[in-house]
Symmetry: C3
Subunit: 136 residues, 3 copies
Amino acid sequence: MDDIEALKRLKARYCRTLDTKDWDGMRPIFADDAVVDTTGSGGGVITGADAFMTFLREHLADHVTVHHCHMPEITLTSPSTATGIWAMEDRIRWAGGGELIGFGHYHETYEKTGGTWRIKTTTLTRLRLDMTEPAP
Amino acid sequence: MDDIEALKRLKARYCRTLDTKDWDGMRPIFADDAVVDTTGSGGGVITGADAFMTFLREHLADHVTVHHCHMPEITLTSPSTATGIWAMEDRIRWAGGGELIGFGHYHETYEKTGGTWRIKTTTLTRLRLDMTEPAP
Amino acid sequence: MDDIEALKRLKARYCRTLDTKDWDGMRPIFADDAVVDTTGSGGGVITGADAFMTFLREHLADHVTVHHCHMPEITLTSPSTATGIWAMEDRIRWAGGGELIGFGHYHETYEKTGGTWRIKTTTLTRLRLDMTEPAP
């Protein structure tokens, strides 16, 4: 499999493990020092893969989520680094009843270590973010 | 075209022929002895491509459908076999007025015979399945 | 990057520049004499990339749009020509408040000149097109 296909699968695995709540399957997707910027969605910047996993378990584990990513634009910037832009749509159905439907783009960087690609940084920008009551 | 790209196109063709009701175009996508497991959507297990075509003609031909598949994770397991996972979203607008909106994953196996890839088995698991009245 | 991947990125760039209103980034995506057929959505046939850019700036610049394309079926028909079919979903939130949600397929041709792929023709057929009031 070539690097571009491997990077597409990496993001596919992120969405699948997120929506199936397979946290152990998700952890290796991220570099240990990964930085996740959720400010576009009203959140903060989370530094470190373990911290992000804690964040996800606390905020999404109890809710039904759907994350779909589309039309990747992946650029290999060296044999071990790459960038990617993905269009995305996400839906969260909070256990309490309200829903979030959002659209935007992931802007990401990747690094390859020990033959394995991982997400190094990811920033989610938003085109739209709709909420229905009750909020979580 | 490489095998992974060919398998992506195979699933694309499935969704397109389904939503455009091109049943003749769809039949060759499936191995003769294909097994389609729809238990995750409240249906049954359908054995045989011809039986599945009959099922589709009976259940979906008169309704407006949209099937979108995303972020394939395809693995070649031998020169003539492969597996795939696809995230998916489907919408059915029943002729009677109600709608179904669903999200989930297709878990599939493929086989290559005579130089052509076909779907051998497909199982649809669900994250969400919403219905609006009236039911079909 | 191979031609099929380059063509996938071309369409990705179209959707991204459209939804982020990056009109200067979009113009090189189209051949000068590109033909855009929007009759399936109730519009007309627009001839010429510059005319299409004018159309987009007039009709979509002030509204929040989301265009997602899926499951490309790309065929190289010569070293410098190709065809493509993409499933699509688009959402427009008009500044006045109404919304459009549509589903369909882009049927496209591409040409490569000076080493760069561009969209030569694009026709959007529709499976569904829903509008909520107020209309734009």
